[in-house]
């Protein structure tokens, strides 16, 4: 066990991430990605630290974060499930799939399930249009999705999380 290193505060971690990239041209998006990668979302306390590091206002930083669908200011569930709403998926029944998923998880877009396992988001095209309808969980896309395949998948995801503590 490491005894001499005191756990770093989130603020210090954020400051380090900002310092690593602040000199890149157009550094803001890479910094936001790094922070979100580290925490799963962008903590509110990050805004002032980024603003100071980049010599911008907090309002500017907030404006950028909220412009992009990918960035979140709230902690999401353990698995973020994105359902593709693109036309290719619609041609293969994604509207019915969307409804089935919402019913199964008991949540709407932008919401997190009560057990904090799943957050649901819409996405406009995963580029898997020849094998639609598609959903994405974390970095992995799944093709030819049906409501029954989705039930199996969520069961597996819950099991992994609870029993093994692993990400799929």
């Amino acid at each position: 066990m490491n005894t001499n290193a005191k756990a770093q505060s989130p603020e210090q971690t954020i400051k380090n991430l900002v310092d690593n990239k602040k000199d890149l041209p157009g550094a803001l998006l890479p910094i936001l990605h790094d922070i979100q990668h580290q925490f799963g979302f962008i903590p509110k306390s990050a805004l002032a630290i980024i603003a100071q590091g980049l010599q911008q206002t907090e309002a500017e930083i907030y404006g950028v974060i909220t412009f992009y669908a990918h960035f979140h200011l709230e902690q999401p569930g353990r698995h973020t499930i994105e359902i593709c709403r693109g036309e290719a998926c619609q041609a293969m029944g994604s509207k019915a799939l969307e409804q089935a998923v919402k019913n199964q998880l008991g949540i709407d877009y932008g919401q997190t399930s009560a057990n904090k396992n799943f957050t649901l988001e819409p996405v406009y095209c995963l580029g898997n249009c020849a094998c639609s309808p598609s959903i994405k969980v974390g970095v992995k896309t799944y093709g030819r999705m049906t409501s029954s395949k989705f039930s199996e998948l969520t069961e597996t995801l819950s099991l992994y999380q609870l029993n093994l503590g692993e990400e799929l």
Binding site: P25, G26, A27, L28, L29, P30, L32, H33, L54, G63, V64, F67, Y68, A69, H70, F71, C84, G86, E87, A88, C89, Q90, A91, M92, G93, K95, A96, L97, A100, P122, V123, Y124, C125, L126, G127, N128, C129, A130, C131, S132, S134, K136, V139, K140, T141, Y142, G143, R144, T146, S147
Partner: protein, 541 residues
């Protein structure tokens, strides 16, 4: 003895279970006396056959597909390792599969053949021949490279179809400003159109061709810094691109002294954050600069004042990845493909309700019906085709009488349609055209950058008007009301077309108007059939 197997690691192959198949193959051959060398290649683009497993034999590569984990055992016991034909998934020599054999692959000629992250593989398959020729041309005059691109007739493959050579010429002639004296090459890899995946496939199957194209662009106009702006929805492409770029640096194809030529080019991947509008070039530049992706007014053109105010080439993935073959084989070779002012090939992408979806690279001039019937083999559900949307969410829905239009930019423009990025989405007769028209407006409300009123407010009102039309229809309101709402929608569309700052607002009316024009009988009727029931019924068969 060792047998070489190929199994793609492209997003679609993985989405259809390729990773699990790979694990099963490794596990089941571990104890075998026959050693197996499993290479994770890119996809050939025959997505209806993914995961497609190939075996190298003395006769060539033999294919089996689509392979599931449950098939691995029988494949191994029934002689797959020697290319045996006695298996239901046997497809013969990959090259001879009609879907592939009938294509004219120029940009995608290496896709699915090579290991995408092996630079040796790339070089063995004619990689960097274009770059070497470019360096020779450059020794005489920079203008020579730009002239080759002009002569080839290449037009931007991202959708707007602007002549690539003219864009390059503008950047070559432009003077950088300020202390930095920098020009930039920006690759637009924000492939947001539904029904399109050629950029993704190219980056995942042959990333070095994009890298090579960007280096050549840099040499041609005197830009030493490049960025690939990649959408965050494509994590697999990011992984492969970054590995390829690192290798290109190690092998001195990137960096300060490209192959000892004294020329310099640096390249970096930047990830977007889920905004469709960032596929618009000025929005993309704002995003690269670390801002909200708000559209800029043009002029100034990005070629003159682009990234950080400097002269910038913004080209799509396919445009840039096509540059190496033009330089390798000569402008004339490329020019000889195609029709009219649409020269060369376009990678068409067959998607949606289609039996054999995938990538089909062909010279311009073939027809939609030919592609959908010959390659696609009809709908996935087996129902008749009702409409085909070409060119992404801002493209027209085409009725049957237009399926014989030649696939070239001008012919499409003549029927008020767009070829865009070459995406073809097929819908069967269960589709409700009313819902699709409404969705076009809804998509624009979700993805508008918000800078100009016609797009931001117009799309919101568009959804409202269509909802009112549906309500009027359901209440069987008097005809006058329907006529008035119809006129209102036409007016609104025209305002968006004429008044929007960029293509997002000005093209959203294209799908809406195509539905009003060609599916008038169907528009505002109540036929929202349960698509999913049909699909599910088919899956269960």
């Amino acid at each position: 003895m060792s047998t070489t197997l190929y199994l793609p690691m492209d997003t679609t192959a993985i989405a259809m279970g390729a990773d699990d198949v790979a694990k099963a193959i490794v596990f089941q051959t571990k104890e075998s006396s026959e050693k197996v060398n499993l290479i994770r290649n890119g996809s050939r683009g025959m997505f209806y056959l993914e995961p497609l497993l190939e075996v190298e034999t003395p006769q060539g590569r033999v294919a089996y597909g689509p392979v599931s984990v449950d098939d691995v055992e029988s494949l191994l016991t029934q002689g797959m390792l020697t290319g045996n034909a006695d298996h239901p998934l046997y497809l013969g020599l990959t090259e001879n599969i009609p879907y592939l054999a009938k294509q004219q692959r120029l940009t995608f000629k290496r896709a699915g053949i090579i290991n995408p992250v092996s630079i040796d593989d790339y070089i063995t398959h004619d990689g960097f021949v274009g770059l070497n020729n470019a360096l020779t041309l450059l020794a005489e005059d920079q203008q020579n490279i730009v002239d080759e691109i002009k002569t080839s007739g290449l037009r931007g493959r991202g959708g707007a179809a602007f002549p690539t050579g003219i864009k390059w010429q503008t950047v070559l002639d432009a003077k950088p400003t300020g202390a930095e004296q920098q020009k930039y090459i920006v690759c637009n890899a924000d492939e947001g159109d539904s029904g399109t995946f050629s950029d993704r496939l190219l980056m995942e199957a042959d990333p070095f061709s994009l890298i090579e194209g960007m280096i050549i662009a840099g040499l041609a106009v005197g830009a030493t810094q490049g960025y690939i702006y990649l959408r965050s929805e494509y994590p697999q492409a990011q992984l492969i691109l970054e590995q390829a770029i690192a290798t290109a640096y190690q092998q001195q194809y990137l960096g300060d002294n490209i192959q000892g030529s004294g020329h310099k080019f640096d390249l970096e991947v930047r990830i977007g954050a889920g905004a469709y509008i960032c596929g618009e070039e000025t929005s993309l530049l704002e995003s690269l600069e670390g801002k909200r992706g708000l559209v800029r007014a043009k002029p100034p053109l990005p070629a003159i004042e682009g990234l950080f105010g400097q002269p910038t080439i913004v080209n799509n993935v396919i445009s840039l990845a096509t540059v190496p073959i033009i330089l390798a084989k000569g402008a004339q070779y490329y020019q000889d493909f195609g029709v009219g002012r649409s020269r060369g090939t376009l990678p068409f992408q067959l998607a949606g309700n289609i039996k054999q979806g995938g990538l089909v690279e062909l010279a311009f001039g073939t027809t939609l019906a030919d592609i959908v019937n010959d390659f696609g083999a009809g709908t996935y559900t087996g129902e008749p085709i009702k409409a085909i949307q070409v060119g992404g969410p801002l493209g027209a829905y085409l009725p049957e009488q237009q399926w014989h239009t030649a696939l070239d930019y001008e012919a499409f423009s003549a029927i008020s349609a767009v070829l865009g990025h070459g995406g073809i989405v097929v819908f069967d007769n269960s589709i409700s055209m009313t819902e699709q028209a409404r969705f076009a407006m809804e998509f624009c409300t979700a993805e508008s950058c918000g800078k100009c009123t016609p797009c931001r407010i117009g799309s919101t009102r568009g959804v409202e008007v269509i909802d009112n039309m549906i309500a009027a229809h359901q209440n069987q309101s008097p005809t006058e009301q329907s006529v008035a709402l119809n006129e209102l929608l036409v007016d609104l569309c025209d305002t968006m077309i004429d008044g929007s700052l960029c293509a997002m607002g000005s093209m959203t009316p294209i799908p809406v108007k195509s539905v009003m024009t060609h599916f008038a009988d169907d528009f505002i009727t109540d036929n929202s059939t349960q698509y999913h029931e049909k699909v599910t019924a088919k899956e269960q068969k």
